[in-house]
């Protein structure tokens, strides 16, 4: 999970949209549910600095997702308001919203004022990157500060000792600046309110991201960020109503932002095209509405409100109106990436919009583009029109299609499923038909084996016997080449030698149908150079089997 931008969104919401606290609460609530550890770590840190022990229980509550988060956050948001006043121009916030929780204390003392007495502390990068020095002897957990270790030891029922402050009023507020000179937090006026915060800031912003998520591409500099992310990465699916699925919320939100933008744009250009196109858009709209997948599902509201947060000004109104209903919303066709062709119809429409996006339509006008480009624009238009026609044809042709199939059912054997008619299936079948014979392949290893005789798939006993016979023939020929030449002579009588092939001249076996001696047209398909004679008698057998009774018995009788 990407904590940082989210929080800054939140911040901006707190500051700028006081009205929408309701939404915020939801938002916050969902965040707690989503990312309990993130919040928990923030809170526990603040608790420790404040040393208000009773708050630990509150932390635990938050951790366990006990009922209070919304009230907590309400308080937080109130507080944040004041923080915003303290550091009025801070756009990017301290990611560890320590300051968010701290103010409870601070506000009591110095309501609404920056603390002039705060001690500004500058730590070296080494100190900031220092690893945990204080180790628990039970579980080996390391802590950066002794006090934290002491708190931890209590959990093991070990003796512990916490420093007590002599006088709480004497607490001097410390703020920490980032050692990186180019960083905004290097300026004391933008210093961060606590040590852990500055440490995390430093490694996040200026450190190496060595924690890499196994599932996605994200890397983190802070282990806890990585942990929090790992827990949720890939566990959820976010679906935009354009049909695209996302595994991560941030990419989903990003997408949503553009998806809206794109829809707007496509709407604009579609309108410029023609009334027909508008019709299509309506069609599409309907189909989208009928599509049960249309709603985002559970995360719609959060997603959208966050989009709203990102694009504060423009989308807010629209979003609140549209969020779940979707009736006013344009179909989200936008990016080609998102296009989900549920049907041919959708497909075409998507394409329409796409071409609008990818090629400036002529109506948009690109005066500075060269002529050829404008002709391309024309192409696009005509293409689009073509598509529209196609759409109609497409609809029609489905009918035609079914009609045709009815037709052919009546007409004749349409027993084949359409699957078996696909080229892939046919090629496979052709290969299988030959796969039982061990001839050197011409068609890879499979296809060349079409010589096989034994695997006749046909139901016709004739065919089977035929192919067996033919393979015998083949063997005979193979063994007695001198015979072959004899036969070859006959070939000169030249009948239909289509089926006959010779790998090389010497191998030519031409047995003529017209030839008195043989009624068989033999076929030795050689592959150049390999001298093998793979051919497809099996297929012929197939054809034989399917043939009608148009026999050539008259020829046979000759024998």
């Amino acid at each position: 999970m990407n904590n940082q931008p989210r929080k800054s969104n939140l911040r901006s919401l707190h500051i700028k949209t006081t009205v929408s606290i309701e939404e915020d609460r939801q938002d916050e609530g969902s965040r707690v549910a989503e990312n309990p550890s993130g919040i928990a770590s923030d809170c526990s840190l603040s608790c420790i600095t404040v040393q208000a022990l009773h708050q630990i229980s509150a932390t635990r509550q938050a951790k366990l997702k006990l009922p209070s988060p919304s009230t907590d956050t309400q308080i937080m948001s109130g507080d944040e308001f004041s923080i915003a006043n303290v550091f009025p121009q801070e756009p990017e916030t301290n990611p560890n919203s320590k300051s968010n929780a701290n103010p409870t204390v601070k506000k009591k003392r110095l309501p609404g004022n920056p603390d002039p007495d705060a001690q500004v502390i500058a730590l070296s990068p080494t100190t900031l990157m220092a690893t945990n020095r204080f180790i628990c002897e039970i579980c080996n957990k390391g802590f950066r500060r002794d006090q934290n270790l002491q708190l931890h030891r209590r959990g093991h029922n070990l003796p512990w000792k916490l420093k007590q402050r002599a006088n709480k009023d004497q607490i001097i507020k410390k703020v920490y600046i980032c050692p990186e000179k180019t960083c905004v937090h290097h300026d004391p006026s933008r210093a961060l309110g606590d040590l852990t915060g500055i440490k995390k800031h430093f490694s996040r912003k200026h450190g190496e991201k060595k924690w890499k998520c196994e599932k996605c591409a994200k890397k983190y500099a802070v282990q806890s960020d990585w942990k929090a992310h790992s827990k949720t990465c890939g566990t959820r699916e976010y679906k935009c109503d354009c049909g695209t699925l996302f595994s991560r919320k941030d990419s989903f939100i990003t997408h949503r932002a553009f998806c809206d933008a794109m829809a707007e744009e496509s709407a604009r250009s579609v309108i410029t095209v023609s009334a027909n196109n508008l019709n299509f858009r309506n069609d599409n709209l309907n189909s989208t509405l009928m599509n049960p997948n249309f709603p985002h599902g559970f995360n719609v509201s959060t997603g959208i409100s966050q989009v709203g947060a990102v694009f504060k000004s423009d989308y807010n109104g629209e979003i609140s109106g549209n969020s779940l209903v979707g009736d006013q919303q344009k179909p989200r066709l936008s990016l080609w990436l998102d296009h989900e062709p549920n049907s041919h119809q959708l497909n075409f429409i998507d394409v329409n919009c796409n071409s609008n996006l990818f090629i400036p339509s002529s109506s948009t006008g690109l005066p500075d583009m060269p002529k050829t480009t404008s002709s391309m624009g024309n192409y696009t238009l005509s293409h689009r029109q073509g598509l529209m026609e196609e759409e109609v044809i497409g609809k029609g042709s489905t009918m035609d299609h079914s009609l045709a199939s009815l037709y052919s059912d009546n007409q004749k054997h349409q027993s084949n499923s359409s699957a078996s008619m696909s080229a892939t299936a046919l090629l496979q079948k052709a290969a299988q038909m030959g796969s039982t014979k061990s001839n050197p392949a011409f068609f890879g290893n499979a296809f060349g084996m079409m010589n096989s005789s034994s695997s006749s798939a046909s139901s016709s006993p004739n065919a089977i016997s035929l192919s067996q016979k033919r393979s015998e023939l083949h063997q005979v020929f193979g063994k007695q080449p001198e015979n072959l030449s004899g036969k070859a002579r006959d070939s000169s009588m030249g009948g239909s030698n289509l089926m006959q092939t010779s790998a090389t001249q010497s191998q030519a076996i031409l047995v003529n149908l017209h030839g008195a001696e043989h009624s068989l047209t033999r076929d030795f398909l050689g592959v150049g150079g390999e001298g093998s004679n793979p051919f497809l008698p099996q297929q012929l057998a197939e054809f034989v089997s399917m043939s009608s009774a148009m026999g050539l018995s008259q020829f046979t009788r000759n024998h």
Binding site: M376, S519, L536, S547, G551, S553
Partner: protein
């Protein structure tokens, strides 16, 4: 015994009659029984005819090839079922190969042919829109680039074939949304048409302005093979990404030219001589003569090429890869047809491409109605042209030398690239994209860190990412 065979065979087969008839043209016009063929049987018969014809063409038996083509033409049609369609294009390719043996006739038959570049681009756009392959390639490529460029402040992307702005538009959006903020982005697009690049520049600049990210488009008007690396203007300090979508296979040309020189027969010596002529003069006549040689003696050529000598590595692709390597790319994402269409023998190529394009035509069938004009155009102008190139062309003219991923991987490895495994997220995106198509025929699998997209069991395209390795 023979008689028995004969009788059982002949009585049951109308196909036996057919060849005779085709010999005597006009004897009997449309063959009745053809109409009665079930689509499946027709398909099988077409496969058989294609194979037969291919053998005849390979052996130079043109008369028989002619007969086979005649039969195919009776059964195949470019707007029929997949097998009919594919047969049309394969038979056309075979015919083209035969025709090239008569340079004069060949030239004359094509003398008024018009080939509009815009049409071709449009067809590619349709292929991108209707079928998932380009989109998957784009998505995976972009994801690999975004991941490799994480944290980089200056990003330079080189697109070896800049026709489709959609890919880079999406990249701009991805980069603008990245947590560390958008980088300075420069895209170098290579294309031989000025207008295409202008178009792309326009779209991308607009998008970048909208998202307010610093962007520069660097157009290079050139053919890929004549590319001058200086034009890339790669600056120090910028992180370089290279995207190649179905481009690299055309560099395998030289590979085969070398192979042809290897056989030592006088015949091929002549071939070498002819090739030199071509190289020197770029003369069409020479090319045609060479084609003549190739087709006329193709059986010899085929057998010769299986000699161990033919395994010499290609100079051209190696040069190009080492050029790319010298640019020190952080990532190079390569999409290629995942099928071996660069076989030495014609028959090998035909059988492999029959499977490959069979599957692609099936994809078309699943995506578009048979009457679709778009489908027809894509099949004719894109797939059909590729088929023709694979089957009819030889030597430098044969550009569609698709090879399997393993071979590419070896080649990249030798050229000093290391594989960058594609991320889980890239895979996920590709999967989701494919799920969006309402066909369960599309398959995607991970293969040694690379992605292979296919139809049913047939791999069609591979996407792999590579990086500079010292």
């Amino acid at each position: 015994m023979f008689q028995e065979d004969g009788s059982s065979f002949v009585t049951s087969s109308p196909l036996q009659m057919f060849p005779m008839m085709s010999l005597s043209p006009g004897f009997m016009s449309p063959h009745q029984w053809l109409q009665e063929l079930k689509p499946e049987d027709r398909g099988l018969y077409l496969i058989h005819l294609l194979v037969t014809c291919a053998n005849h063409v390979a052996t130079g038996n043109l008369e028989k090839a002619n007969m086979a083509l005649d039969q195919i033409s009776n059964l195949a049609t470019p707007d029929g079922d997949t097998m009919q369609r594919i047969s049309s294009y394969f038979s056309e390719a075979l015919a083209d190969r035969i025709l090239r043996t008569w340079p004069g006739i060949y030239k004359a038959s094509r003398s008024t042919r018009i080939w509009i570049v815009a049409e071709e681009i449009l067809v590619r756009k349709m292929f991108f829109e209707f079928l998932p392959f380009m989109k998957v390639a784009f998505v995976v490529t972009n994801q690999a680039i975004v991941e490799a460029m994480e944290g980089e402040k200056m990003v330079h992307v080189i697109d070896l074939n800049a026709t489709e702005p959609a890919q880079w538009r999406a990249l701009i959006q991805d980069l603008s949304a990245r947590p560390e903020g958008p980088p300075h982005l420069r895209i170098t697009g290579i294309h031989q048409q000025k207008e295409v690049l202008e178009q792309m520049a326009h779209v991308l600049t607009e998008e970048a302005e909208k998202l307010d990210i610093p962007f520069q488009f660097n157009p290079i008007i050139s053919k890929l093979e004549n590319l001058d690396v200086e034009n890339f203007r790669v600056k120090t300090g910028e992180a370089l990404a290279i995207s190649s979508i179905m481009q690299l296979h055309s560099f395998l040309v030289c590979d085969n030219d070398l192979k042809k020189k290897s056989p030592s027969t006088p015949l091929s010596a002549l071939g070498v001589h002819l090739q030199r002529v071509i190289q020197m003069n770029q003369s069409t006549l020479g090319q045609l003569l060479e084609k003549d040689m190739v087709s006329a003696y193709s059986p010899r050529q085929d057998s010769a090429s299986s000699s161990p000598l033919s395994t010499t590595t290609s100079a051209n692709i190696d040069d190009f890869l080492s050029t790319l390597w010298s640019l020190n790319p952080k990532v190079m994402v390569v999409t290629e047809q995942d099928s071996d269409h660069n076989g030495k023998s014609l028959m090998e190529r035909i059988s492999e491409s029959l499977y490959f394009y069979g599957a692609l035509f099936d994809c078309m069938e699943s995506a578009l109605p048979r009457a679709s004009l778009e489908r027809l155009k894509m099949e004719k102008m894109l797939l059909g042209e590729e088929i023709k190139n694979i089957i009819a062309c030889e030597g430098a003219e044969r550009k569609e030398r698709h090879e399997k991923l393993e071979k590419w991987a070896q080649r990249f490895d030798l050229a000093g690239f290391a594989n960058v495994p594609l991320s889980y997220y890239a895979m996920l995106q590709a999967k989701r994209l494919l799920q969006g198509y309402n066909s369960d025929g599309y398959k995607i699998k991970e293969e040694n860190g690379c992605v292979v997209i296919g139809w049913q069991d047939r791999p069609l395209f591979s996407v792999s990412a590579w990086r500079f390795r010292r």
